[in-house]
């Protein structure tokens, strides 16, 4: 077991502490200026805080111009609670920021247990994803809702590793109630319980328990959501038709190329993180193990789902990829680190 801290690890820890302080400073000083923060989760949270209920009457009023009326309620509800406790803009960004810190802390404990040689550096690679914390708008992007979904995904994966499928289902459901992408990521994650769930392998029992817990929380929300009119959103579910797929197919190669460019050549949010993920997996002696038992296969599967959605997206050309892909990759960044450090002989964390 590696004990001593290298100069780079010490410098990284210092930089991470500085970054955390800067985030706190920008959260207090800079108003929410990112478009999603102002018009999506921030706006929904203000509405819940102002009306004291969800769904508020404005969500059903077609004259009230609020985008993504069917936006999942968990982050707005948490933000509304934060606004009730601290009635200034600052409150809106506290929840995602705290979730980012929680993920960074959790990884800094878990990864060195799984990979004593590189665990600390890997945790630092996540903690120091630069634009996440120091964005064009002075850290406003530190509050992206994607950070919170990434935290739920990590939590669900750790619970599956610990042999707690029902709890994992609850946490995955929290992800689905945070962002629509959680509706795709949750089932992918829970299906991986077949391969590995605590000591159980190749069994359907854990999947069943996890799915029941997931469905028990998500289905009521979907039922409630069906009563809210859609509007000013991409309406992906209605666009997933053979006609739309055929119509979007010609831009497939351009979309794929743009995804590679945003992920690897022009990373503004995640720095060199995805280079790290690919190179580390490629040089691993346990590639197949990382993909299956480490659940790393969820990352390409999720990217494939995003690719299909980009193809049917109502946005022109590849604009949607440029604006959102790197942010959406944050959902699976902590999960990728778990997969990269998966080892059969390592004792799993008991929760």
């Amino acid at each position: 077991m590696k004990q001593t801290w290298t100069p780079l690890e010490r410098a990284g820890l210092g930089a991470a502490a500085l970054v955390a302080l800067l985030m706190a400073w920008t959260i207090v000083r800079v108003p929410v200026v990112s478009v999603d923060g102002r018009t999506l989760w921030g706006f929904h949270a203000r509405l819940i805080h102002d009306t004291g209920r969800y769904p508020s009457p404005e969500l059903g009023d077609p004259g009230f111009p609020i985008p993504h009326r069917q936006y999942p309620p968990l982050l707005p509800l948490l933000d509304a609670a934060a606004l009730a406790a601290l009635p200034v803009d600052t409150a809106l960004r506290l929840v995602p920021w705290l979730s980012y810190l929680a993920v960074a802390l959790l990884l800094s404990f878990e990864l060195p247990r799984r990979d004593p040689e590189r665990g600390r550096l890997l945790a630092l690679a996540y903690a120091l994803m630069p634009t996440l914390v120091l964005s064009e708008e002075g850290g406003a992007d530190a509050g992206v809702a994607d950070t919170l979904l990434g935290a739920w995904v990590l939590g669900a994966a750790l619970l599956l590793d610990a042999g707690r499928p029902a709890l994992a289902g609850v946490v995955a459901a929290a992800g689905a109630l945070t962002k629509n992408e959680g509706l795709a990521l949750g089932p992918l994650l829970l299906a991986s319980a077949f391969v590995r769930c605590g000591d159980e392998r190749r069994r359907f029992g854990p999947i069943l328990r996890a799915t029941l817990a997931f469905a028990a929380l998500v289905l009521p929300w979907l039922w409630l959501r069906a009563a809210i009119p859609s509007g000013l959103d991409e309406g992906y579910l209605s666009r997933l038709t053979l006609e739309q797929l055929a119509a979007g197919a010609p831009r497939g190669p351009e979309v794929a190329l743009q995804m590679v460019r945003v992920g690897f050549l022009h990373p503004q949010r995640a720095g060199l993180f995805w280079w790290l993920a690919v190179l580390l997996w490629w040089t691993s002696s346990r590639r197949a193990f990382a993909l299956l038992d480490g659940r790393l296969a969820i990352v390409p599967a999720y990217v494939a789902i995003l690719f299909v959605l980009y193809i049917v997206s109502p946005w022109p050309g590849v604009a949607h990829v440029q604006l959102s892909f790197e942010r959406l990759l944050l959902h699976v960044a902590p999960l990728a680190l778990l997969g990269l450090t998966a080892r059969p002989a390592q004792p799993i964390m008991r929760i």
């Binding site: 990284g12 478009v35 440029q322």
Partner: protein, 234 residues
């Protein structure tokens, strides 16, 4: 391997940064503009104040470059292999292990180096906004998105209406994202949008009946300035 050779990466890094710094602030701006130009997603955010911030980063770039050159000379003279010392890879580790650790370490080094650059720019940005009220800061920052409405008149309206009474935006054609920005900006004052084939004051009684809480109407049918008018008593 001789330390002068194993530390060559530090020499190359120092030369690159020093070379960049020797171009002066104008050269830095040209490089930054080129980067923004190549990244379509960044194009709308390169503004005059960014240019000032990039210019102000010159000392950071120069210090990093000269520091790297000095570190190269000093460490090589003392026979210290900087990378192995920095990363702490044990000499007994396999080649594969050393490679894997170096991959992760490179990403962490990159992230650490980005911090002073980002920090410098954000601090400078904050410096420029210091002394402004929260509302003015917001107004200033909101103005950066080229596809957003002009917030000056909207702010004027907010002051004049004291946040009371709903605003009815009468629009011809399709709803726009401007309406969303407007509603978010005026909130908790409510802004409602009504799409009509024609913008005519004749429809006012009907609109009043539909939205009894509305005290203001904005005829958003042309490209004119945002100037809501009070809806008179019925």
């Amino acid at each position: 391997m001789s330390p002068w050779r194993s530390n060559a990466w530090l020499l190359a890094f120092g030369i690159a940064l020093t070379g960049l710094a020797s171009q002066g602030p104008d050269g830095l701006v040209v490089v930054a503009r080129d980067i923004y130009g190549r990244l379509p997603m960044l194009a709308p955010v390169f503004r005059a104040d960014h240019e000032r911030q990039v210019r102000a980063l010159l000392p950071v770039v120069a210090t990093l470059g000269l520091g790297s050159l000095a570190a190269y000379a000093l460490a090589s003279r003392r026979s210290v292999a900087v990378w192995a010392w920095l990363v702490g890879v044990p000499s007994v580790a396999s080649r594969r292990d050393r490679l894997r650790t170096s991959i992760v370490a490179s990403v962490v080094v990159y992230s650490i180096l980005v911090v002073p650059l980002r920090l410098g720019r954000d601090v400078l940005r904050e410096w420029e906004l210091s002394g402004l009220s929260d509302r003015d800061r917001r107004l200033r920052l909101y103005g950066v998105h080229s596809r957003e409405p002009d917030y000056g008149p909207i702010e004027e309206f907010r002051r004049m209406s004291r946040g009371e009474g709903a605003l009815l935006v009468v629009r011809r054609g399709q709803p726009t994202f401007d309406d969303v920005f407007l509603a978010a900006y005026l909130f908790p004052q409510r802004a409602f949008v009504r799409l009509l084939p024609e913008c005519s004051p004749d429809v006012l009684p009907r609109l009043r009946a539909e939205r009894p809480t509305a005290d203001w109407v904005e005829w958003a049918c042309g490209d004119g300035r945002f100037a809501p008018v009070a809806i008179g008593p019925q």
